[in-house]
């Protein structure tokens, strides 16, 4: 078991009323799964993803990640945990505009204090694997959306995370580019055994996953 959510509640207080963002969510994720989270706007998909990614907290319930009780961890430990095991892919890529493709890929390694030679090898490997060697010295603004997302995924993968969290990874892409990205996810999941949780609006993209979770008003349906 990779992670387990038990009775997770998250709410905000607005005008004296408690509005639930997540309500009684229970979820078990095993290693090697490919899960799609679906639901209309405002149903809590991204919130759930952020809770899983430990970027956001929750108000009630238990969260276990690889034997660790996330709900009882201090902020700092939580941050260390996600930094080590989780890679993030964003709808709007969130590449650093001032860095080239190569440098963007290298950055997580810098923070994990890899040696220069190791970094070089890992970056080269990743460029190769994603077929973007020719783009390594370009800046994000010089790439198409699909290519940027490719770099985004490569960056999420470079430090070998156990889990990839993708928040509408194809949301800003046209259908051909989107398909390419989904194929890539599928390949990563099947061939490399990477666990993936994605948030998506599209039935077609959701179908790439092995399991679909539907949310409505913060509840699983």
């Amino acid at each position: 078991m990779l992670l387990q959510l038990n009775n997770i509640f998250k709410w905000v207080n607005s005008g004296g009323q408690r509005i639930f963002l997540l309500k009684d969510i229970n979820l078990n994720v095993n290693e090697g799964e490919f899960i799609s989270i679906m639901g209309p706007s405002g149903s809590g998909k991204s919130t759930l993803l952020n809770v899983i990614g430990m970027l956001d907290g929750f108000d009630e319930g238990e969260y276990h990640f690889l034997e660790e009780s996330v709900h009882s961890l201090k902020e700092k430990h939580r941050a260390n945990l996600y930094k080590e095991y989780i890679g993030f892919v964003f709808q709007s890529y969130h590449l650093l505009d001032e860095l080239t493709v190569k440098e963007n890929l290298e950055m997580p390694l810098l923070y994990k204090k890899f040696k220069g030679s190791e970094r070089k090898a890992m970056v080269a490997d990743m460029l190769d694997r994603f077929n973007i060697v020719g783009k390594k010295d370009l800046f994000p603004a010089q790439l198409s959306g699909g290519q940027q997302q490719l770099v985004g995924i490569a960056r999420a993968l470079i430090s070998n995370p156990k889990l990839i969290l993708a928040d509408e990874p194809t949301g800003n892409l046209n259908s051909a580019q989107g398909e390419e990205i989904m194929e890539l996810f599928k390949k990563l999941n099947e061939e490399d055994g990477v666990t993936i949780i994605q948030v998506t609006h599209s039935e077609k993209n959701a179908a790439y996953g092995s399991r679909i979770i539907n949310l409505l008003d913060g509840r699983k349906v």
Binding site: S46, N50, L55
Partner: protein
């Protein structure tokens, strides 16, 4: 990692050229000003610090209560040194220093005037002025020996060795050069090109043993190990044993190295001196540095919204807070390094004009390791100070809020950024007020009635044969038509060389110790200076042969002496009875900033040192001077003709205040400039942040004018708060500053009003450019960007 930071920082700089430029220019101007001030302070503080024995060298001061107030001064009787040498075994060396005097040196046909002093042989042992040639034990042993500096030696002898050469001094005595001194460093209070032995004073009959004639400086060097506290108690009562007239006068040893910066005494207590002005500019340097750093912080945090995404992404992929803090600090250190480099260029380029302004010769010493150490220090300090707030602010962003795009900018009533702007503008307003007050004070005092007419007034030192041929010269001057009136004076009309409380008149109170200034003149003094007679007549030895005991007094003296009928009153001074023949309107003899003292004018031509004359207004000055030159060449052929204009000398009395005024104005302009750069940057970011709001407002029908007002008002409010804060502070400081002047401008409400209006106007100009630009932009464009 470091390389990565550097890369990001560099690319960020290039990408935001406008922002970077504002930031770097502001910081580099700030750093340049700080560097200039620090160079100057460094130089001032180094004054007289190079003497090896400084820890045991003292200047001999006197202390004496006058009118219930303790007065301290540093001139001593000539005999003091020999008494100290005889009575106090703790003293290793003692030397007198006669006030610098100008002599004419001749060798062959060469005639060179040079300024130097007469000292005891110990002088060179007390002070570290190294000899390049000559033996320190013997150079000043012989009566007619002279020690010259390298500069004077070169002027006199060119490249030949000066040792053993014979010089004629003032066309009378022959001197042998026995030693050559290394040229004096610039940071010494002494100013001599040659030294002569004290024995020469004896030979000329210029020495005297009067305890009441305090006219030379005396320096002592204690034996090492002597306890200063104990010794100063011992020497305090020296005069009790010798001085019949004022045995209660105290003798005081004052550390020599403090004389340049501190030697201002009030009521017997050291109260500062030149150090005050140094502290003032030190504070100004600090303030400018802070303002420049505030700018940096403000601009960086204002831009932080733009970099929030970067922070969020970095955090999500593994950056710890520490790593981010060091990244942003690194960036600000990079900017401050660039700014420091620019600052050095600015300093290098502006140093010559700054030197002219402060009348010093400062230089950048690139080979000095302290220069580089302090440069690196200042870069790190500024970088960390300026970068700390943005670094901590940026690195504390929560990644999720940034990633989600719900990052909210601060909108609290009292945000740090607003506080910083208020602080900046308060300082700017204080400086504006200071500029106004200093310059008003200057104008006010310059406009003060001098009491005589300084135009076309010239004085000439009576050297060589001038003194004995005075009557002939006076006649020749008047006959030539170059001068309309000629007289002789003891000192230039802008200087006072003698004063005393030991002056008697009928009805003087027993305990009256008020100092009365002495001036000595000859026939036609009133006519020449253009003094105004209140009663009586001008001095005139021709019509009144008894005028050798005549005296003029000024109005203040008349009031002080309580003369109802001043003419015919007797005044006793210098062992003579003087007959008051006239009263002149008060005139300024010493400082135009102080109140006018009582002045008596002896009529004693034989005591005078200068010819003072009024040029004929009908001719051009150049023509008059040519005639003068011809006459003096004829009567005093051995000496070059030299003269001074009284108005130019009088203008010099304002030098210090003028300099202060110019420096304060300069720093004020720079402070305002830096503050405006910051304000400009802030407004542009604010306008950018509110671009959607502006768009919506315009779509709903807002006019350009109303939007400009909306955007400007926020900042102008801050300036208004600054004005309210700055007024009491500047009022306090300027009142303090004016306290040291007796004749001063009254601080008026319009000084503050002007400063406030200026600050508002400058702020408005700065802000409105961006505000109008944002207001006239097409709303469709701005709305589409969201």
């Amino acid at each position: 990692m470091f390389k990565n930071y550097l890369k990001i920082a560099w690319r960020n700089l290039l990408r935001n050229k406008g922002f970077s430029l504002l930031n770097i220019i502001g910081l580099s101007i700030g750093l340049a000003v700080v560097t200039l001030i620090v160079l100057w302070i460094n130089f001032e503080v180094s004054y007289d610090r190079f003497h090896e024995n400084n820890d045991r060298v003292y200047q001999v001061n006197n202390q004496y209560p006058v009118d219930g107030e303790i007065w301290t001064w540093n001139s001593t009787p000539k005999i003091m040194a020999s008494v100290i040498a005889k009575d106090y075994p703790e003293v290793e060396n003692v030397s007198r220093y006669n006030y610098e005097d100008t002599f004419l040196f001749s060798i062959g046909d060469k005639r060179i005037k040079s300024t130097g002093s007469i000292v005891d042989p110990d002088f060179l042992k007390i002070f570290s002025f190294p000899l390049v040639e000559g033996n320190i034990e013997t150079v000043l042993k012989d009566v007619n020996s002279v020690v010259v500096t390298q500069k004077l030696a070169e002027k006199l002898f060119g490249n030949e060795s000066p040792i053993g050469k014979i010089l004629k001094v003032d066309n009378a005595d022959s001197f042998t050069v026995t030693g050559v001194l290394k040229d004096l460093p610039r940071n010494t209070t002494f100013n001599f090109e040659f030294l002569m032995p004290w024995a020469y004073l004896h030979q000329k009959g210029w020495n005297d043993d009067y305890w009441s004639n305090n006219s030379v400086a005396t320096y002592v060097m204690l034996k090492s190990g002597t306890n200063y506290e104990i010794f100063s108690k011992k020497i305090k009562s020296l005069r009790e044993r010798y001085d019949k007239e004022s045995p209660e006068m105290e003798t005081l040893l004052y550390p020599f190295e403090r004389t340049y910066l501190y030697s201002k005494f009030e009521n017997g207590i050291e109260v500062g001196g030149r150090i005050d002005i140094i502290r003032l500019f030190g504070i100004i340097a600090g303030i400018i540095l802070i303002i420049a750093c505030i700018n940096f912080m403000n601009l960086s945090t204002a831009r932080s919204e733009k970099r929030a995404k970067e922070v969020g992404v970095r955090k999500v992929i593994g950056a710890k807070k520490g790593a981010l803090v060091s990244q942003f600090l690194g960036e600000s250190i990079l900017i401050s390094s660039i700014a420091a480099f620019l600052a050095i260029l600015i300093v290098w380029a502006s140093l010559p004009s700054f030197n002219t302004l402060i009348e010093r010769e400062l230089s950048l010493n690139f080979t000095d390791k302290w220069f580089w150490l302090s440069a690196v220090g200042i870069v790190l300090f500024t970088g960390v100070l300026a970068g700390s707030y943005p670094a901590l602010y940026l690195s504390s962003f929560k990644p999720v809020s940034v990633i989600k795009g719900v990052f909210k900018k601060e909108s609290t009533l009292v945000s740090p950024r607003k506080v910083l702007v208020v602080l900046q503008f308060s300082i700017a307003i204080i400086l504006i007020t200071a500029t106004i007050v200093v310059n008003q004070q200057l104008v006010n005092v310059q406009d003060r009635d001098l009491g005589y007419n300084k135009d076309k007034l010239v004085y000439i030192a009576m050297e060589g044969t001038i003194k004995e041929k005075y009557p002939l010269i006076k006649e020749a001057l008047l006959n030539s038509g170059a001068a309309t009136a000629v007289t002789r004076t003891v000192s230039p009309p802008t200087e006072n060389w003698s004063n005393s409380w030991d002056i008697g008149w009928k009805g003087k109170k027993e305990d009256d110790k008020t100092l009365i200034l002495r001036f000595t003149a000859d026939t036609d003094i009133v006519k020449t200076l253009g003094l105004e007679l209140v009663a009586g007549r001008d001095l005139d030895h021709i019509r009144f042969p008894t005028d050798s005991t005549a005296m003029l007094i000024n109005e203040t003296a008349m009031r002080h002496m309580g003369f109802e009928q001043p003419i015919g009153q007797q005044v006793e001074d210098m062992g003579r009875q003087w007959n008051v023949v006239g009263v002149v309107k008060d005139f300024i003899l010493t400082s135009p900033f102080q109140k006018i003292e009582p002045i008596i004018i002896h009529s004693a031509g034989e005591w005078t040192n200068f010819i003072t004359l009024k040029l004929n207004g009908e001719y051009k000055t150049a023509h008059n001077i040519a005639s003068l030159s011809q006459i003096f060449k004829e009567y005093n052929p051995e000496y070059p003709f030299e003269y001074e204009f009284v108005d130019q000398q009088y203008a010099k009395k304002f030098n210090d205040e003028k300099q202060t005024g110019q420096l304060v104005s300069l720093f004020t302009v720079l402070t305002i400039f830096i503050s405006c750069l910051g304000l400009f940057g802030l407004t542009s970011y604010m306008a950018e942040n509110r671009i959607k709001e502006i768009g919506v407002r315009k779509v709903l029908g807002a006019t350009v004018q109303s939007i400009t007002t909306l955007l400007s008002v926020d900042f102008l409010k801050l300036v208004l708060i600054s004005i309210v804060l700055a007024i009491p502070v500047s009022w306090y400081f300027m009142t303090k500053w004016l306290e040291s002047f007796a004749y001063k401008v009254t601080i008026s409400w319009w000084f503050f009003a002007l400063a406030g209006v200026l600050a508002l106007a400058i702020a408005f100009l700065t802000v409105s450019y961006q505000a109008i630009k944002a207001a006239i932009a097409n709303p469709v464009k701005s709305l589409r960007t969201e």
